[in-house]
């Protein structure tokens, strides 16, 4: 089974924010929540690069490890989902997440922040695929319809790619050979490059498609 991953080729990203807008629109994400965002490094200096970042769907998700109510699950594709019925909005997943992916509808309401929201790899939530409840809580389930995440589908320069990690790695490596340079896949060592205690999603493991 394919191991779903994101890969943002920072040499190609032109900071157009189409991925951010597409995500917001596709999932009716409320104001203030940023499932996907663009971060520009070395802004205005030589070597400026922009990187589109969302939940990377880690092999060994830190959010799932620190969750006090154990509301996370990982699908057979390696997509990290969570249950908004179980989430208590404590905010611990944001402290542990290397990528700042978890988002909360409120910032301060005497410690209550509402149900956490994050990128679902366009795969909805634990509810039945395509159900109304699933759409209301987590947004569209494109994966169940055989489609890839809209952010990557929308990317005009094909900088952001989503799909089988092995294929993404191959495309990126071929690209880098053709143009002569590549600085690595942002976040891959943090999300997929660590030993994760015998999980099938460990680097090179059966769940990762060998990437």
């Amino acid at each position: 089974m394919a191991r779903m991953k994101f890969l943002c080729d920072s040499e190609r990203c032109i900071e157009c924010n189409a991925c951010v807008t597409a995500c917001k629109n596709e999932h009716e994400v409320p104001w203030g929540i940023n499932r996907r965002r663009l971060v520009t490094l070395n802004d205005g200096k030589p070597g400026e690069r922009s990187i589109s970042m969302a939940c990377m769907h880690c092999n060994d998700p830190p959010c799932a490890a620190v969750c006090p109510v154990d509301c996370f699950l990982q699908t057979a594709d390696g997509v990290v989902l969570h249950s908004k019925d179980l989430c208590i909005g404590c905010g611990y997943c944001f402290y542990a997440c290397p990528f700042g992916a978890p988002q909360y509808p409120r910032t301060t309401d005497f410690g209550s922040r509402g149900k956490m929201d994050k990128c679902t790899f366009c795969a909805g939530g634990p509810e039945p695929d395509g159900s109304v409840e699933e759409y209301q809580k987590y947004g569209a389930n494109r994966l169940a319809e055989g489609k890839l995440p809209l952010c990557a589908e929308m990317c005009s320069t094909r900088a952001l790619m989503a799909g089988d990690g092995a294929i993404l790695a191959d495309i990126y490596q071929e690209r880098s050979v053709r143009r002569g340079y590549g600085s690595g896949a942002p976040g891959w060592s943090t999300a997929y490059g660590r030993n994760d205690r015998g999980s099938p999603f460990a680097p090179g493991g059966p769940g990762t498609g060998g990437a």
């Binding site: 971060v39 070597g47 990187i51 509301c71 997440c97 410690g111 990126y172």
Partner: protein, 337 residues
Amino acid sequence: MRPTMRPLHALLLIALMAVAGLAAPTFAQAQLTQVPGPSSPTTKEQVPLYVPQDDKVVGRVSIPDEKLAVLVQPEGREWREWRTHTLRLAIGGLAIGMIVVLAAFFLYRGTIRIHGGKAGRLVLRFNWADRFAHWTTAVSFLTMALTGVILTFGRPLLIPLIGHQAFTPLAEYSKSIHNFVSVPFVVGLVMILALWLRDNVPEKADWIWIRTAGGLLSKAGGHHPEAGRFNAGQKMVFWSIVLGGMALAATGYLMMVPFVFTGIGGMQIIHVIHGLLAAALIAAVIGHIYIGTIGMEGAFDAMGCGEVDENWAMEHHRRWYQEQLRKGYVEGRQPAE
């Protein structure tokens, strides 16, 4: 046409020439920081995918939420280790360690009795304001300790017992109670600080108490080092609760307004401080509860009904007792002199 427009025309011309120059491949490549060169990969295997990354990467975002400018924060890994292992070890280890020590002490010493037996005459030790302040602090502290422990240990201990569906509301209520009960806790802290600060200033006699461990270990002697209203042990509890409680409240309120005063690294440190203080105070309070209940005969009356037996006061707080006697506060005794 004004004459000032002429230099602008010249500028536009220069700009156009520059753009034309950029179109020439050699010139364009010189503008880039990364160009194909001797280090360029010639095969796909040479292209790095996993680039080791151990430092925080911060950039710029165009959205209002500025904390999201942090692209990668590997420190989350250390915080995860803290939250899933170290925190549980600190709270559980210190609490269980304290209980073990107390159990050993109880087997060795038993309940510390009043040597002269009960006199039957009572002396007021804590008035209603003292007791109100104590029990406000005590009940809110225990409530927060319990709810905090539910949130910390619920996943490994309670979810296997009651299941996810039942644990989520329990955790949610625990979190709310933990937050709201902090208000009476702080009120109690301010009250005990105002009421008892004067009697908790360290003095010379405390040194003797600490050196002899308050006579706790001398089984047969029954000799107590002299003490005023509070002995050195009680003063230590007072200062741990007041200072530790204030720090717990401060870090707790900072966590209720996340990212208002600090970024992600600061929030992680605040959580660590809160957890360590909680572990230390829970252990200290277990010891405090022990000596105030089963550990010592007559001690609970002080905070229970507010009045203690004359002989208990004479044995444990002689200097304070003599003062009360002088003022005529001891039931059935005439003021001295």
